[in-house]
């Protein structure tokens, strides 16, 4: 899979890497038991520091999506459907929190914001 990062984004680089890898793991693009790219290879390829990739990988470990097997590297864990569902639900919660903050900052009422969510939802159906 291709990881793409932008230093111009407000999202920290380690977070950009973490999100793309966790999506790939949960979505099955990287299979259970597969190795993640070596830290140093990925850092050189993405032109980010080694610590940036280390931090992304450590967060994947903390999420239970990978393990650090000493001497080998980072290996993708089995992702049970419960676990995947929990991670996905977390992402929805985070996104909702951002929508609510933006809506309140724009002084919209709840109905207006919900209306926009509904309209966006329907464009994907």
């Amino acid at each position: 899979m291709a990881v793409v990062v932008s230093s111009a984004s407000a999202v920290p680089m380690y977070e950009q890497i973490r999100v793309q890898l966790s999506d790939a793991i949960i979505g099955g693009d990287i299979a259970e038991g597969e190795m993640l790219p070596s830290l140093r290879q990925l850092a050189a390829q993405l032109r980010v520091s080694i610590i940036t990739v280390t931090r992304a990988y450590n967060e994947l470990v903390a999420m239970g999506l990978a393990t650090n097997e000493h001497g080998r590297g980072f290996v993708v864990c089995p992702v049970g459907s419960d676990r995947a569902a929990a991670v996905m639900a977390d992402r929805v919660t985070t996104a909702i929190s951002e929508v609510v903050s933006a809506g309140r900052a724009a002084r919209m009422d709840m109905a207006t914001v919900l209306g926009k969510v509904e309209a966006e939802w329907k464009t994907r159906e």
């Binding site: 140093r40 850092a43 050189a44 032109r47 080694i50 610590i51 000493h70 001497g71």
Partner: protein, 299 residues
């Protein structure tokens, strides 16, 4: 994996209590530890001591006091340390392609094939005399020389000054490639701090002959911010601002630890600190109320 092993290893560079007086300038008791397997960026204004520190590490100046260990040893063999200074250490009349013949007696591990392939990769003409190379070509020659003897530690002092963006990118890419081996370590001193932004793992900020900050670049980004505001500052607030500057219109700005942002009340703006902001803030020091421990770096 590789990095877990490295994390517990011996730091590639260990400096303790380093002092050196050179005329009016003084290195005032520098303690430094560079972890093996990572890139450390060394920044600070001119005259802050970066070059004296590097020259002390390389044995080019003799410290007045202190302890220096490179690669675990008090006397690292030059073979294991690759050096790129602001000027290439080759005679101007040598032809670039024949530099190896002159310097290999110093470096038992000199790999002529590797040297030639680096010159080719960097597009450095082999028949030109060293003295006729452009600034960019000289740096590339120095880099090829540094890597030709397979060093464990790469020390670069201002390699990117005077280079165009393309050449700077080539230089940082070579450092990234060097860092693929987890037993390798790089120390990179530069004024062009954007070159460090996505390359350096650790950052050392020097100011007035002492180390003002030492930690990971990520930690520095999270810990420090630039504060902007208008009007008067309370003395508590003013005391925590590094490099406080006021404009003619009465606004102020400076570097703060984000943990101190509550001291400023509501009418301020914060933005994340860049590496340049750290250099400027630490060079300016604090205006008042410095504690003895911090006063030395901030005076």
């Amino acid at each position: 994996m590789e990095d877990a092993r490295v994390a517990g290893g011996i730091p590639a560079v260990q400096v303790h209590g380093l002092r050196k007086r050179l005329g009016a300038f003084e290195l005032r008791g520098v303690d430094l530890s560079l972890p093996t397997g990572f890139v450390t960026g060394l920044v600070g204004p001119n005259g802050s001591g970066k070059t004296t520190l590097i020259r002390s590490l390389l044995g080019l100046v003799r410290p007045d006091a202190g302890d220096i260990r490179l690669l675990g040893s008090a006397r690292a063999t030059p073979d294991r340390v690759g050096v790129v200074l602001d000027q290439v250490t080759a005679a101007p009349e040598w032809r670039t392609g024949r530099v190896g013949e002159h310097v290999r007696p110093l470096f038992p591990q000199w790999d002529e094939v590797r040297f030639r392939s680096m010159l080719e990769r960097f597009d450095v003409p082999v028949h030109t005399r060293v003295g006729e190379l452009s600034r960019g070509q000289s740096v590339k020659l120095a880099m090829a020389m540094a890597l030709a003897h397979d060093p464990l530690l790469l020390v670069l002092d201002e390699p990117s000054s005077g280079l165009d963006p393309v050449a700077r990118r080539e230089l940082t890419d070579v450092i990234r490639e060097f860092m693929l081996d987890s037993s390798h370590t790089a120390l990179f001193s530069t004024h062009i701090t954007t070159d460090l932004d996505s390359l350096a793992d650790h950052l050392v900020v020097m100011s007035h002959g002492a180390i003002a900050y030492q930690g990971t670049l990520e930690q520095a980004r999270e810990q420090f911010a630039v504060v902007y505001g208008e009007g008067r500052l309370s003395s508590d607030a003013a005391a925590v601002v590094r490099g406080l500057r006021r404009s003619a219109t009465g606004s102020f700005q400076g570097l703060i630890d984000v943990a101190d942002s509550a001291l400023f009340g509501s009418g301020i703006e914060l933005r994340p600190a860049t590496t340049d902001d750290l250099v400027i803030g630490f060079a300016g020091g604090r205006t008042a109320h410095t504690t003895p421990a911090e006063g030395r770096g901030a005076a």
